[in-house]
């Protein structure tokens, strides 16, 4: 499989946007709820597999559509959420393009971890600017973005790279480092 066509990227992005709505519903149905941050996962996957422009769109449109359809997240929470998710999509996409260590999992983890950090920092800043200029303290950010979200972060770190790998195994996205004809395999 060569590089993905623009149409394919676009439609994969559409599927991820739809999952931004469907996954939280599924998680909700069995009580896992929002502690696992289900809406974040499709955005990371979209950024990592389709590239930053699609990651950006998924980060904006995913929460926005969900919000328009169910008011979850409530429209009032939307701006900071959009900032956070859009940064995830963009940063993970750009890093996947730049970082090429010849090892898939190393590339994935670098992109993912930097994206997670960047998203949370920028969202904290956005929240401070929008809701409470000057008063939004470090402690509130730490509590909101690091402490209460650790189960979700854990899921993201454990699960997202192996999911990308599974998508490659299933030949749904191209191999990042295709094995050469001589048979030596690089993962």
């Amino acid at each position: 499989m060569e590089k993905m066509s623009a149409v394919k990227r676009a439609i994969l992005c559409a599927a991820c946007i739809a999952l931004c709505y469907a996954l939280p519903m599924a998680f909700h149905a069995f009580g896992a709820g929002s502690v696992f941050l289900p809406m974040h996962i499709p955005v990371f996957i979209c950024g990592l597999t389709c590239g930053w422009p699609y990651g950006l769109l998924c980060g904006i449109a995913g929460p926005a559509i969900s919000s328009a359809l169910t008011n979850m997240p409530p429209v009032a929470m939307l701006p900071t959420m959009v900032v956070e998710l859009a940064v995830y999509g963009v940063v993970s996409g750009i890093l996947m393009q730049i970082v090429r260590t010849k090892r898939l999992y190393v590339d994935l983890y670098i992109s993912l971890v930097v994206a997670i950090l960047a998203g949370r920092v920028l969202a904290g800043m956005a929240r401070a600017l929008i809701f409470a200029a000057g008063s939004y303290s470090m402690a509130a950010w730490v509590s909101g973005y690091l402490v209460t979200s650790w189960p979700g972060t854990l899921i993201q770190l454990l699960f997202i790279p192996s999911l990308v790998y599974a998508l490659m195994q299933a030949r749904l996205i191209p191999q990042r480092y295709p094995k050469t004809k001589t048979g030596d395999r690089k993962v």
Partner: protein, 274 residues
């Protein structure tokens, strides 16, 4: 108009060492109803995806409706000439409204906005879904979904229609609906190519191609291809029930005059014996 001429088509996917298509020849005349038979993974879907250049031709020659599939300048005319309906009825819709979805192809070819509603309702009428414009595809039955997808293709008035296992996921009712629509189109002069592993669906065809492991192992009329169990078995398929019975009766010492393809013909043959 609606012809297909392919010689020595060979194709390999990047992840596979063995070629999926290995020197395939195919020739179809305009207005024919053609069945391409073979088991899963025999290369039949890969073959038809060359007809509208969804897959780029790697080796060999292929011209469809007089267009060389390698000619990139003609790509969009080619795609408009060859319509394609796929296997999964759920994975072909771009819109939450049937009418908007049928209009999708027309919009891609920049058909003027004013002409679109007329063409959409005509296409829906052709597949027996007149007035379904405002319906949601998700609330339709499997057969209706496939017919709506067919309408989206027919709106572009293709010369060749490819049904890529379009009946495989339908219940018997839905399957009959799609086959009836295919017959109807052939009556209107469209070349219809059906990809299937159900041998019974090939019986009304004008021409049957039999594929196995990337090769074309037989081509001919249904009478020529479907009455030879060895050939079908070689392709991993089972002969139609009347053919099977014909051969088993022969083994038991009872020879029918002709090998029947349908149950009706079988009944007649047997009565002649009595």
């Amino acid at each position: 108009m609606g012809s297909i001429a392919g010689k020595q088509i060979t194709f390999a996917y990047g992840y596979d060492d063995a070629p999926t298509l290995n020197g395939v020849d195919i020739s179809v005349k305009p207005g024919q109803l053609v069945a391409i038979l073979g088991r899963n993974g025999c290369g039949k879907s890969t073959l038809v995806r060359h007809f509208n250049a969804l897959l780029a031709l790697q080796e060999g020659e292929l011209s469809v409706a007089g267009i060389d599939v390698r000619d990139e300048a003609e790509l969009w005319r080619l795609r408009r000439t060859v319509g394609m309906v796929f296997q999964n009825p759920d994975n072909q819709f771009v819109s939450s409204l049937v009418g908007e979805d049928v209009a999708f192809g027309l919009e891609n070819y920049q058909v003027p906005r004013s002409e679109i509603p007329g063409k959409v309702s005509a296409a829906l009428e052709m597949v027996g879904l007149a007035g379904f414009e405002e319906r949601s595809p998700h609330l339709l039955s499997g057969g209706q979904k496939q017919r709506a997808a067919l309408a989206g293709v027919l709106a572009l008035e293709p010369e060749i229609l490819v049904l890529d296992e379009a009946t495989a996921m339908l219940d018997p009712v839905g399957r009959r609906e799609i086959l009836a629509a295919a017959m109807d189109l052939r009556m209107r002069g469209t070349t219809v190519i059906m990809i299937t592993h159900i041998v019974e669906e090939a019986i009304p065809a004008d021409l049957v191609f039999l594929m196995n492991e990337g090769k074309m192992i037989a081509a001919g009329t249904p009478e020529e291809v479907l009455t030879v169990p060895e050939l079908l078995e070689q392709a991993g398929l089972a002969p139609p029930l009347p053919v099977r019975l014909y051969h088993d009766l022969r083994t038991a010492g009872i020879a029918l005059e002709h090998c029947p393809l349908t149950a009706e013909a079988l009944a007649e043959e047997l009565c002649r014996l009595k």
